[in-house]
Symmetry: C2
Subunit: 242 residues, 2 copies
């Protein structure tokens, strides 16, 4: 890729960005070495363990973040404690809500994560002078909206069995986008989180997983390690047209 070759010969590229996996993804891919240098003066890398909080629902937003490693869950909570995961984000996704000062949801580490945090003000300033940057942000927002609406169909109209299959399909295709028929992966979520994502209880999730296991659609080891034997079968059970 052109941008990559350019970087290699460009000593202006900030040290922290040189070996960054997100350099060409997320929003950073839209930035010139000069802009990266500017931005990187304010960024800080943070490592957060599974279950840790990036920021909470209702809190003011002071910073954005790029996910470098791990999975982040976006959750919304009802006053009585019921909660719903409204989005999962993977590296190198951008986390944050431009043009808003307060978060309507909380962002938590589903797995151990590493992020590159940047002050809101720094990026907000830069967006006004870099059309490509706004384009990238706009585009990620559109993708997230598509995903949110896909999931609304799952939440509103699918059975527990279809929901669990949909979740497994989603994870399988996000962890390994190769679309191979046979694939195995680690679930980034606990049963409780899966329930919160699917609008189900942990018991129902567990029962449906057991059924899919008994029907040889999946193989499960140590609760978290899953093998899908036939991805198209899973998609069919999930009610995904392809």
């Amino acid at each position: 890729m052109d941008a990559l070759r350019k970087d290699i010969h460009n000593s202006d590229l900030p040290i922290v960005c040189r070996s960054c996996e997100a350099r060409h993804g997320g929003i950073c891919g839209a930035l010139t070495p000069e802009q990266l240098a500017e931005l990187s003066r304010y960024t800080t890398r943070r490592t957060i363990e599974a279950g840790g909080e990036l920021h909470g629902q209702g809190e003011p937003i002071h910073s954005y973040a790029n996910i470098l490693r791990g999975v982040v869950k976006l959750t919304k909570m009802l006053p009585d404690g019921r909660q719903q995961i409204v989005g999962l984000q993977f590296a190198p996704d951008f986390i944050g809500r431009p043009f808003s000062t307060e978060s309507a949801l909380s962002a938590d580490a589903a797995t151990a994560i590493e992020v590159c945090a940047l002050p809101k003000a720094a990026l907000d300033r830069m967006v006004n002078n870099a059309p490509d940057l706004e384009r990238r942000l706009h585009n990620q927002t559109l993708v997230e909206l598509d995903e949110a609406r896909d999931w609304m169909l799952t939440l509103g109209r699918k059975t527990a069995r279809e929901k669990v299959a949909s979740f497994l399909y989603l994870i399988a295709t996000h962890i390994d986008p190769s679309q191979a028929e046979v694939m195995d992966f680690e679930l980034p979520l606990t049963r409780q989180d899966i329930g919160d994502f699917l609008g189900l209880t942990i018991e129902t999730v567990s029962r449906q997983m057991t059924k899919l296991r008994q029907e040889k659609v999946i193989h499960v080891e140590n609760n978290r390690s899953v093998t899908v034997h036939d991805l198209s079968r899973l998609a069919e059970i999930a009610g995904i047209d392809c």
Copy 2:
């Protein structure tokens, strides 16, 4: 407002835009009279009766639209026919999915609507030269994402009673944003549509409406005309924190 005064004295403003209610809302508010003139050479006004289709799921996208009047429902359908409304849009919202050539959902007129349709190519071209325009589109996308995620919480975690109350609250606050405690309005959706929006059957919607009526939370006339006696009570039932 400054833009308004400017328009009045500017004969360059396209005739079709001069009396348009959406002139200062939606995306048009971001355009100069010159840009409006350019765009308006390609726009066409269309009136569509309730139930009519703007475009279907899976179809290629050739045009965008601004809603001038009425309510549009965005729906997604499973292969077996189950369907879910994933968004409601009101005037002067913009309808369309930039950066994509195929629609992942269908857009239908919930009520009789009037729209200002514009060819996709014309707007796509203009977006590259008008940062304000992309900003507006980006912003509307962010708002729609917020709304979609709010609704995911409703779909995944609320009871039928809370869902119906949430729907009534949503409509009440969108039709009349004054936040008055007492308000009345016409429902823009049939019971079937409400069911498709809430992930419920029409029978369940009907029963919950009847209950709310018996409890004097709402008053219903001719099936469609609703009076809310106490908006904060409705919000409380809906599980909305305020």
